[in-house]
């Protein structure tokens, strides 16, 4: 199953010039202003404060640390990802607003790193969510982190960094891996399928047998719509 290639899909350029200029501006702003949510799963997190503070100052690149996934664009996963933490990482990833990017710092996210032999850590992060960029190194130095971030900024500016669409397009593949790891009744409170419909990113890879499994035991997740139901019901005692 892991044969799906990560073909960098370049965003189609829109026809009329005004829209194109607007798209350029938007891509430029997206690249120049990134909010990162660094999820300190492991030892790599200690590299981030020096990157943000006076010596390597990320703010000059327009990168600010943010607390809640809703506000963040980049999910920085720093260090080994144990199975228990992976559940929370997936939940946080799904709660982020797209276009969202995942950067795996430290070699533990790349191929399990020092803990390659451990039964408890995930070896291949991009099985469970699309990862844009890996920054190898058993705790890469801040220069490496910033170098990686700049590479990501160029990609965004060029418009190639939309691996987040891949999560919706091949949701079944990702869900399968997740269910393989966490068991059949694995479910996050975010309704990814309806979100896929909302952004019309529905493709053949989205719905499959894994999603059917999800449907069976999923607790209802549609949003509470404002109802003006006036039917004369027995008022609650």
């Amino acid at each position: 199953m892991s044969s799906i290639k990560q073909i960098p899909v370049v965003e189609a350029k829109r026809t009329n010039p005004l829209a194109r200029v607007f798209d350029d501006l938007v891509r430029f702003c997206r690249s120049r202003s990134l909010f990162i949510l660094h999820y300190c799963t492991g030892c790599g997190a200690i590299e981030l404060p020096p990157a943000m503070t006076s010596r390597f100052d990320m703010e000059r690149l327009g990168i600010q640390p943010m607390v809640s996934p809703r506000q963040a664009d980049i999910l920085l996963i720093t260090g080994y990802v144990s199975i228990k933490t992976l559940k929370r990482v997936i939940l946080t990833y799904e709660q982020m607003g797209s276009p969202k990017y995942v950067i795996g710092i430290c070699s533990c996210t790349v191929n399990g790193g020092m803990y390659w032999q451990s039964y408890a850590t995930a070896k291949k992060l991009d099985e469970y969510m699309p990862v844009d960029l890996y920054i190898a190194g058993c705790m890469p130095r801040p220069e490496a982190v910033i170098e990686g971030l700049q590479q990501l900024m160029d990609r965004i500016h060029a418009g190639e960094a939309n691996s987040w669409e891949d999560y919706y397009r091949n949701y079944d593949y990702y869900l399968g891996n997740q269910q393989k790891l966490f068991g059949e009744d694995w479910q996050t409170p975010t309704d990814v399928i309806s979100e896929a419909k909302h952004y019309d990113l529905l493709s053949n890879g989205t719905l499959g047998d894994h999603t059917r499994l999800l449907e069976q035991h999923q607790k209802p997740l549609e949003a509470l719509e404002m109802r003006l139901g006036h039917e004369q019901k027995e008022p609650a005692k």
Partner: protein, 625 residues
């Protein structure tokens, strides 16, 4: 005798009372009573000339007992108050007919007694408002307080004890007024208003002080002013739904009407101001102002601590009463107008809020703020009504509460009273805080599992609520209309009248034009919406799809933050006001208990003859010396 318009009105409300009394059994009784209230409103509007600076309409009903002659007549002030009374009665009884009535009967309530009590309340209030001289004022006053007692005692259980407490306070107030009445009668020989004004001129300082205290205290009890405010919150909260809406809206404003009539019109603010406390710079007017200001602050912050929606609103009723008195007591052009307009505004949004809370109780069965939450998705219209109500109660621009509070602030500013201004603002901020707690704990936050299938309140309850919120918004947008009536009321009481336009108040030192302010506000909202909705389409997510530090939220866990809502604030000021007045009331009660124990012991003495002999000896000795 020729039936004057006032007689028509009184006959009409008498008829409503009789209709409620005799044919109150059937379900249609509710609707019939509502239609009759509508008739009363029409009769009142026919007297509309009063509202626009007209003279007074005397009633043909007047008779003479034991040398006192009683007469009834209506003037601008009573017309203004009558309008509010009948308006809130009409909407409250409309709210009570239909669905609420059925549920009230199902819960064992006596709907016939409810309609009769409401009709009785309106009838007695009209008599009080129409009183021509002090004696008819006192008769009306007693009738109103007893009718209020009847309405409060309906719900039984806790309501009875609250009503009992009310009646002891009301009787004490009544007796104080009765004493004051007697003092005036001896001083001026007759109880007619004109005679009293002449008598007041040459009355000595001490006597006038006594009168001010007696009348101020007596009327203050009904208005729930500071030292006597303990009874009002539980009494109004425990009355059945629409009853509390009616009581909350108007019943404690009768005290203000009486204060206006007696202290302002008869005694006149000028000689009230001349009354100096012996060796302090404070005069009677300042004393009243400070009582009003304390009535604003303390109840508002007690309201913040309440965990029951109805109690919270009732405590606010007391707080807002303080504004009205403050406006009237400052007695310059804007202050008087602000105070009276606040009576009208408060009536509208207090009734709307009580009705919204009753609708919530009707649907969910409880008004405990810690057991509700997230109802906005299931009861959107009640949410809108409550929202408009709380914006009015907090006095924020789009709604009418803002205009009257603005007037009161401007009057304090013009008169240069910084401490009063500060206290009034503290009151407003306190209201904003506790009012947000109300709407947050009921309508916002996590929707509980058991409230998922709750539906909106039925239309018979919803229409009066929507009408009230429409009134709140319209009088907020065009404050000129109510200001017209307020101006005529001010003329009859003898306070200066501010020049008002349709949109607000024109004055040299800074004017207010609500049409422009609200226009700009909604333009701003329009621009904000434009910017907001130009970006991508927003996706609604489920209530549990929330950031909780990576924790998986589940429906059965109640994670709504509602109890001890302002923990930080309460840490600091929680200890400052732990019911010092409750302690005062309890000490008086235990004193009476102790005395009566002593007296009863007196009668158990066995050797009664011993008494006889001692008194005889004592008397003879006293006579001989």
């Amino acid at each position: 005798m020729m039936l004057t318009l006032l007689d028509e009105l009184l006959l009409f409300s008498g008829a409503t009372l009789l209709v409620a009394l005799f044919i109150g059994r059937g379900l249609a009784a509710g609707w019939m009573v509502t239609i009759l209230y509508g008739g009363q409103l029409l009769a009142l509007l026919k007297m509309a000339v009063l509202g626009y600076g007209g003279g007074t309409i005397a009633s043909s009903l007047s008779f003479e007992i034991m040398g006192q002659e009683l007469s009834w007549r209506f003037d601008g002030l009573s017309w203004f108050f009558a309008l509010i009374t009948i308006g809130s009665a009409l909407l409250s009884s409309w709210f009570s007919c239909g669905a609420w009535e059925r549920s009230y009967i199902r819960q064992g309530g006596n709907i016939w007694l409810f309609h009769t009590a409401m009709a009785l309340n309106v009838f007695t209030m009209l008599i009080l408002l129409a009183s021509g001289d002090l004696l008819s004022l006192f008769i009306g006053w007693e009738l109103v307080s007893w009718a209020g007692f009847l309405l409060m005692v309906l719900a039984g259980g806790v309501a009875t004890s609250a009503a009992m407490r009310y009646i002891t306070y009301a009787m004490a107030g009544g007796m104080a007024i009765f004493g004051g009445l007697a003092l005036i009668y001896t001083a001026s020989g007759s109880l007619q208003l004109e005679a009293v004004t002449t008598a007041v001129e040459q009355m000595s300082g001490a006597k006038l002080w006594l009168l001010v205290i007696l009348f101020g205290g007596g009327f203050g009890v009904k208005m729930g002013l500071m030292p006597f405010h303990l009874w009002q919150a539980p009494a109004y909260a425990e009355t059945p739904g629409p009853g509390s809406a009616f009581l909350g809206a108007i019943s404690s404003r009768m005290g203000l009407f009486a204060i206006l009539l007696v202290l302002v019109k008869l005694f006149g603010i000028v000689n009230i101001e001349s009354l100096k406390l012996p060796f302090t710079p404070i005069d009677a007017r300042d004393l009243l102002a400070w009582i009003a200001v304390f009535t604003i602050i303390l109840p508002t912050f007690t309201a913040m601590k309440q965990n029951d929606a109805r109690h919270l609103l009732a405590w606010h009723g007391i707080g807002q009463g303080g504004y009205m008195l403050l406006g009237v007591v400052v007695a310059d052009a804007m202050g008087g107008a602000g105070g009276l307009l606040h009576v009208f505004n408060h009536a509208t949004y207090q009734a709307a809020l009580f009705m919204a809370v009753t609708a919530v109780i009707y649907r969910t069965g409880t008004s405990d703020l810690n057991k509700l939450g997230g109802l906005v998705v299931r009861m959107p219209l009640s949410f809108v009504v409550l929202l408009i109500g709380i914006i009015g109660l907090a006095g924020l621009p789009p709604m009418n509460g803002f205009v009257s509070k603005w007037l009161v602030y401007r009057s304090l500013l013009n008169q240069g009273m910084p401490l009063l201004f500060l206290a009034a603002v503290i009151g407003t901020l306190g209201t904003i805080l506790s009012v947000y707690k109300l709407i947050h704990n009921i309508f916002l936050g996590q929707l509980r599992v058991e409230h998922e299938h709750v539906s909106e309140a039925p239309w018979s309850m919803m229409i009066p609520m929507l009408i009230l919120s429409a009134i709140i918004f319209v009088t907020g947008l065009l404050p000129g209309i109510p200001l017209e009536w307020v101006a005529s009321a001010l003329q009859t009481v003898g306070l200066p009248v501010p020049d008002h336009t349709l949109g607000g108040i024109e004055s040299a030192s800074g004017s207010l034009d609500m049409i422009w302010v609200i226009g700009v506000l909604f333009a701003g909202f329009g621009v904000g919406a434009l910017v907001f909705y130009s970006a991508g389409r927003s996706k609604r997510v489920h209530q549990l799809d929330n950031y909780a530090g990576g924790h998986f939220l589940s429906a059965d866990v109640r994670y709504q933050y509602s109890d001890n809502f302002y923990a930080g604030l309460m840490h600091l000021i929680g200890g400052w006001y732990r019911g010092s007045f409750l302690w005062l009331e309890r000490s008086i009660r235990s004193l009476v208990e102790f005395l009566s124990l002593g007296m009863q012991g007196l009668y158990r003495r066995a050797n009664a003859e011993f008494y006889l002999l001692t008194t005889a000896l004592f008397v003879i000795a006293w006579v001989v010396i």
